[in-house]
């Protein structure tokens, strides 16, 4: 529940097997300290992670869905940007 004293935060968790922090959801909290505790209590109850990032939701700059065609369609026709056009020498092994 949102109240005048609580703002929205986005939560990112890095799982046990490493890799990057992934967005897992959001929560309400009055400040960063309480947001971190709430993230721990809500999103790591089943051993999901070893590191938490939290970010005020209003700090995120998002693309406008109305700009979808302008933003993303031009790349669809440029398949040559995928690395599948290169022959990888066998000695390089797994990339």
């Amino acid at each position: 529940m949102s109240t005048p004293n609580s703002q929205l935060w986005e939560v990112f968790i890095r799982s046990r097997n490493g890799l990057a922090h992934k967005h897992v959801g959001s929560l309400h909290a009055a400040d960063a300290t309480l947001a971190m505790q709430a993230a721990r209590d809500i999103y790591t109850r089943r051993g999901e992670g070893l590191s938490i990032w939290i970010i005020p939701s209003n700090a995120i700059v998002a693309s406008d869905p109305a700009d979808k065609e302008m933003m993303f369609e031009p790349s669809l026709s440029k398949v040559y940007r995928h690395p599948t056009f290169y022959e990888v020498p066998e000695d390089v092994g797994h990339m």
Binding site: M1, T3, S6, L27, H28, A29, A30, D31, T33, L34, Q37, A38, R40, D41, I42, R45
Partner: protein, 258 residues
């Protein structure tokens, strides 16, 4: 009540484990009463998490008490089939939830002690108690951090939250003396390094409480008259009501499982 209470042979070690198990079960049950009722979803989860930690601690301590007693009383029988006068928990943990400030102050006063206590108990000469202490200490450290942050925010928040936090501190302060209770039964265990003397922790506990209370702009109550009785089964009126709910299923349907 369809099922009679069991009787427990309270040797010093059994009594010790029951006292700590009862603290954890009763406080855990109190926190479970918040489930679905907390001021916000995030805190609903946080209180339930702390309650589950405590009930987990209670299970291990009851199991150990039953094993030491050695007559077949398991964790369920010890939790569900002892009457109110057989419960050995601190009066502090059975106090009603009250408002959110009251629940947080109660948790803070207990966790500030439990964190120090379990850390010190990791050196117990009893391997089982040392292992339970090591697990409980990590949990208690978070309970302390969580409740202390809320004490600061309630005390140093609005006029209303300050008033409620101060009222809770004033109401619950007289129950803190019992945290350091030691009787003859404990002394034999202390002499054998099975358990620690809680008096060792008093100055550190005072420092934790004083620091957080000052940051929260609250005032420690001046009175030093302390309530006691829980450790020997003399409880406030609230525990009987709590147990009637906690035990009703096993009392009405003995051995019910699902």
């Amino acid at each position: 009540m369809a099922v009679a209470s069991i009787s427990v042979n309270e040797s010093p070690l059994v009594l010790y484990a029951l006292r700590r198990a009862d603290d954890a079960l009763i406080l855990g049950h109190r926190l479970s009463e918040w489930c679905g009722h907390a001021p916000m979803l995030e805190e609903d989860m946080a209180l339930a998490n702390i309650g589950l930690d405590l009930i987990g601690q209670a299970r291990e301590l009851y199991s150990y008490a039953g094993k030491v007693e050695g007559v077949g009383n398991d964790e369920d029988r010890l939790a569900y089939l002892r009457d109110v006068r057989q419960y050995r928990n601190l009066l502090l943990v059975e106090q009603p939830n009250g408002d959110f400030a009251c629940t947080i102050i109660r948790q803070f006063l207990y966790s500030a002690f439990a964190d120090l206590y379990w850390r010190a108990m990791m050196t117990s000469s009893d391997a089982t108690l040392a292992a339970i202490a090591a697990k409980s200490e990590k949990e208690s450290a978070y309970h302390l951090r969580h409740s202390a942050e809320w004490v600061i925010r309630l005390g140093d928040g609005t006029a209303e939250s300050h008033r409620r936090a101060q009222a809770a501190l004033d109401d619950l302060w007289a129950f803190t003396g019992e945290l350091f209770h030691v009787d003859g039964s404990d002394r034999s265990l202390i002499a054998d390094d099975v358990v620690i003397d809680p008096e060792r922790l008093r100055s550190a506990w005072n420092a934790t409480i004083t620091g957080v209370v000052q940051t929260a702009t609250l005032t420690l109550p001046a009175g030093n008259w302390m309530q006691k009785g829980g450790r020997s089964g003399n409880h406030s009126e609230h525990l009987g009501h709590l147990l009637s709910e906690l035990q009703s299923l096993q009392r009405s349907f003995p051995g019910a499982a699902w």
